[in-house]
Amino acid sequence: MQDMVNVYLMGKKYVVPSNLTIMGAMEYSGYQLVRGCGCRCGFCGACATIYRIKGERELKVCLACQTQVQDNMYVATLPFFPLIKQVYDIEKVKPEQAVMMQLYPEIYSCIGCNACTKACPQGLNVMQYIAYAQRGDFKKCAEESFDCVMCGICSSRCPAGITHPQVALLSRRLTGKYLAPKSEHLENRVKEINNGDFKELIEGLMGKPISELKELYNTRVIEK
C-alpha cells in the first residue's frame, strides 16, 4: 500500500501518495494543468508556489515541480504575477547607474526587509543583488542573480513593489553586452568566415563521397 498524505490544494483537501511532487499531487488529484506548468525541471519559473504546513506560522515558497509534498501542506500556486517590465533599446542604454534610476527607480525604495531573499526558491541573495543594482554595480548584480528563474515570488513579497527579476535581467544584459571582456577569437573567426576563408575546405567536404567522409571521421584527431 502506498504511503499517503493529506494536501490542501487551494485549500481543498486531497489524499495523495507521499512520494509525489506538488505538481504531481495536483495531477494525481485530477487537475489537467494549463497554467503553472512549464519545463517541469526547475528552469522556467512557471510553477511558483506558496505553502504553509498546518500548525506552523511560517509561509514557505518553492517550485511545485521541484518539491515533494508533505502531510498537511496547504498549497497556493502563483501561475502569474503582474511584474513591471520596462522596455529599452539595448543598443542605446549605457551601463551606468542612471539607467536604474530611470527605468526602475523603485529599487531605491527598498526598506531592507529581506523578504525577497527569504522568498527565493533558488536560494539567491535577492536583496543583495538589488543593492548592487542600486549602486550601478551591474557585474556583481549579474553574478549574484544569475540562477534566477524569474518566477516572481520575490516581487510578490516586496513591500516596495520592486520587480527584482527584471532589474536582474537588465543588469545581466548590460554586463554581457558592455562590461564583459570582448572575445577576440570570436570576432576574428566571424571575419574569416565572412571573408570566405573556409569556403574551399567546407565545399571540399560537401563534395566527398560518404566512404571518404567516414575514413576522415574515424581517423580524426581528438583534442585532449
Binding site: I90, V149, R173, G176, H185, F198, L205, K214
Partner: protein
C-alpha cells in the same frame, strides 16, 4: 536518501575512483558502435515503429505514437471559423515562442515585417529554456567550421543534409556573436576567451556555456528583446490548423485559446512553424527531459497541409536522465557533467565506456550495461540506473567546481538530500530530442510555399543523431534564417482567398487508406494522473 543496495554499490565506485582519475577509457571503433546501436538503441526496435499509410511520407516508418498523431483527424471542421474575418492580419506569423520562434521574430522585425508570435503556454516555455550544457561554435584558433562539419556528420551517421549542416557550422560563430552582443553572459576567461569544453563526439573543445543555465540565459535574453521591440506575443494560444490560400500557399493558422478554447483566425503572408520537439509523446514509454508542451504539434500541422517530413523515425535518448529519485525521474542531467570529468560507472565500480561517446552510442551502451550485462543498480519500484561519478569532478578540477560550473544540477539533487559533490548520482536514458522533423530547404521553407520551419521541428540538420550543443546553435541559426527569409518573402506575397479545404481532403485520404480513428491532433498537452486508480480505470 539512497537504498542500502545503492550504498553498497557506491562503496565499489569509491574503491575504484582514484585509479580511474586521469585514465581515459578506450573509445569504440565504427563497427563496435554499429553493432551496439543495432542491438540496443530504441530507434532499432522494429515493433515500436509502423509504416505511414497516407500523406507525403506514405510507406515510411515512424514511431507508433507519432503515426497515430499524424494519421488523426483535425480538432476542427472548416465551418467552425469564419476565414473572411480574421482576428489577426500580419506579414509573418510565428508559431512557437521558444528559442527558434523568438530569434525568427526578432529577425523578421529587423527586416521590417509586421510579425507576431503565438505560443501554446507562456513565451519561453520551451526546450531552449531547459538546454543546460552549451552551444557549439567553431571559433577557437585550433578549430574550423570544416572540423565542426565532420564531427556533426559522423555523429549524425552521415545522414545530415549537407546544405543545412554547412549553414549550421558556418553561421555558428556569428550566432554566438549575435547572442553575445544582445547581452547573453557566456562563461569567459578574464581576457575574454570563451571557456569551452568537449561534448560527446566533438573533436575540438567548442562547447560555449553560461554555467549550466545556457539555454535559460539565452531564452530570457531573447524574450526580453522580443518585448523591447514591441513584437506582439499571444500566449496560451496554440495553432491547431494551418490555413492555405486558394493557390496552395500557407497563409495563416487557426488558433485556439488554451483556457477558453475559443477559436481565432490569424491571416499572414508567411508562416513559420517553430513548435519544437516531441518528448511528451513518451515514445516507447520513456520518460522525457522535455518541457510540458513538447507534443510534435508542428509535424502534425505541416503533414496535414502536405509538407513532407525527413528522418521522423529517429529520436534522441539522452544518456543521462535522472533514474533516481522518482520525483525528478527523466529530468536532464547535462552532458556537461561528463565534459568536466564525471565518468559512467556500473554497479561494480567499473568504467564500462568512454564518457564522451555520441549520445546514441552512450545511451545504447548504458541500456546494454543494465539489460544484457546486469550491471545496473536497481531502483525501488522498478527499473535501473548507472552511476555518474560526480565526485571525480572536484578531484580533477578542485573544490567548488560543481557549484560554479553546474549549479542547477547541484541544486536539483540537493532538494532530495543528495550531494553530488560527495556521492555519485544514478542516471538512465531519457527521451530528449526529435532528430527528424519537417523537411526544409536552406532558406528555411518547407515543400509548402510560404510555410517556413525552424528549430527542433526541422528534420535533416543533424542526420540521425544530434551532437550536444548543436541544438541551441540550430535554433539560433535557423531561427534567424527563417525570420529573414519569411520577412523578405512576405514583401513579395499577395495572399489569395483563404481556405481550410485541406481538412476534408485529409479526412478522405484517411478513409481511402482504411484508417478508422476517433483520435484528433495536434495533441497539445499530455495528461498525467500518476497512477491514480480513479483515472487509470477510464
Amino acid at each position: 536518501m539512497y537504498t542500502q543496495e545503492m550504498l553498497d554499490s557506491i562503496k565499489k565506485v569509491e574503491a575504484t575512483r582514484s585509479s580511474r582519475i586521469g585514465v581515459e577509457p578506450r573509445r569504440m571503433d565504427a563497427d563496435e558502435k554499429d553493432n551496439l546501436l543495432r542491438e540496443f538503441h530504441p530507434d532499432y526496435i522494429v515493433s515500436q515503429f509502423t509504416e505511414l499509410k497516407m500523406g507525403p511520407n506514405k510507406g515510411e516508418k515512424v514511431p507508433l505514437e507519432l503515426a497515430a498523431a499524424l494519421q488523426a483527424h483535425s480538432r476542427i471542421k472548416a465551418s467552425d471559423v469564419d476565414l473572411s474575418n480574421p482576428d489577426y492580419d500580419v506579414d509573418v506569423l510565428v508559431i512557437g515562442g521558444g528559442g527558434a520562434g523568438s530569434s525568427a521574430a526578432i529577425m523578421a522585425h529587423e527586416g521590417g515585417a509586421n510579425v507576431m508570435i503565438v505560443t501554446k503556454l507562456r513565451h519561453g516555455d520551451a526546450n531552449t529554456m531547459m538546454a543546460e550544457g552549451g552551444i557549439q561554435a567553431a571559433d577557437k584558433p585550433n578549430d574550423s567550421p570544416a572540423i565542426h562539419y565532420l564531427d556533426a556528420m559522423g555523429g549524425g551517421h552521415f545522414k545530415n543534409v549537407p546544405e543545412l549542416l554547412e549553414k549550421l557550422v558556418c553561421e555558428g560563430p556569428d550566432a554566438v556573436k549575435w547572442l553575445n552582443d544582445l547581452g547573453v553572459l557566456f562563461d569567459k576567461e578574464p581576457d575574454g576567451t570563451m571557456i569551452t569544453t568537449h561534448g560527446g563526439g566533438t573533436s575540438r573543445k567548442r562547447m560555449h556555456a553560461a554555467k549550466d543555465y545556457t539555454g535559460a540565459e539565452i531564452m530570457r535574453v531573447l524574450r526580453d528583446e522580443v518585448i523591447n521591440r514591441g513584437i506582439p506575443v499571444v500566449d496560451f494560444t496554440s495553432a491547431v490548423e494551418i490555413i492555405l490560400d486558394e493557390n496552395g500557399k500557407a497563409a495563416g493558422a487557426v488558433l485556439m485559446n488554451m483556457e477558453t478554447h475559443d477559436l481565432l483566425v490569424a491571416k499572414a503572408k508567411t508562416v513559420i512553424i517553430a513548435t519544437g520537439g516531441a518528448g511528451r509523446m513518451h515514445y516507447q514509454g520513456f520518460p522525457t527531459s522535455n518541457h510540458y508542451g513538447a507534443t510534435a504539434d508542428g509535424l502534425v500541422l505541416a503533414y496535414r497541409v502536405g509538407a513532407p517530413l525527413l528522418y521522423a523515425y529517429t529520436l534522441q535518448y539522452h544518456p543521462t536522465g535522472v533514474a533516481y529519485p522518482s520525483q525528478i525521474y527523466g529530468a536532464l542531467v547535462t552532458e556537461k557533467v561528463r565534459s568536466i570529468g564525471a565518468m559512467l560507472v556500473n554497479s561494480e565500480g567499473e568504467a564500462f565506456m568512454h564518457p564522451l561517446e555520441t549520445r546514441d552510442v552512450a545511451a545504447a551502451s548504458i541500456i546494454r550495461e543494465c539489460k544484457a550485462r546486469h550491471k545496473g543498480v536497481d531502483i525501488p519500484g522498478g527499473g535501473y540506473g548507472i552511476w555518474l561519478d560526480t565526485p571525480m569532478i572536484e578531484m580533477i578540477h578542485g573544490e567548488g567546481t560543481i557549484e560554479k560550473r553546474i549549479p542547477a544540477m547541484l541544486r536539483m539533487y540537493l532538494k532530495y538530500d543528495i550531494d553530488m559533490r560527495k556521492v555519485p548520482i544514478l542516471i538512465y536514458p531519457t527521451l530528449h530530442y526529435q532528430n527528424g522533423g519537417i523537411k526544409i530547404a536552406a532558406d528555411g521553407m518547407s515543400d509548402v510555399e510560404n510555410l517556413y520551419v525552424a528549430g527542433e521541428a526541422v528534420g535533416g540538420i543533424h542526420g540521425e543523431n544530434r551532437l550536444m550543443g548543436n541544438s541551441l546553435l540550430d535554433v539560433i541559426v535557423f531561427g534567424r534564417n527563417a525570420g529573414v527569409s519569411a520577412a523578405a518573402k512576405a514583401k513579395k506575397t499577395t495572399v489569395g482567398a483563404l481556405t481550410l479545404d485541406h481538412i476534408a481532403k485529409f479526412d478522405k485520404e484517411l478513409a481511402d487508406a482504411g484508417i478508422v480513428t476517433d483520435k484528433v491532433s495536434p495533441i497539445l498537452l499530455p495528461r498525467y494522473t500518476h497512477g491514480n486508480p480513479r483515472y487509470e480505470a477510464k
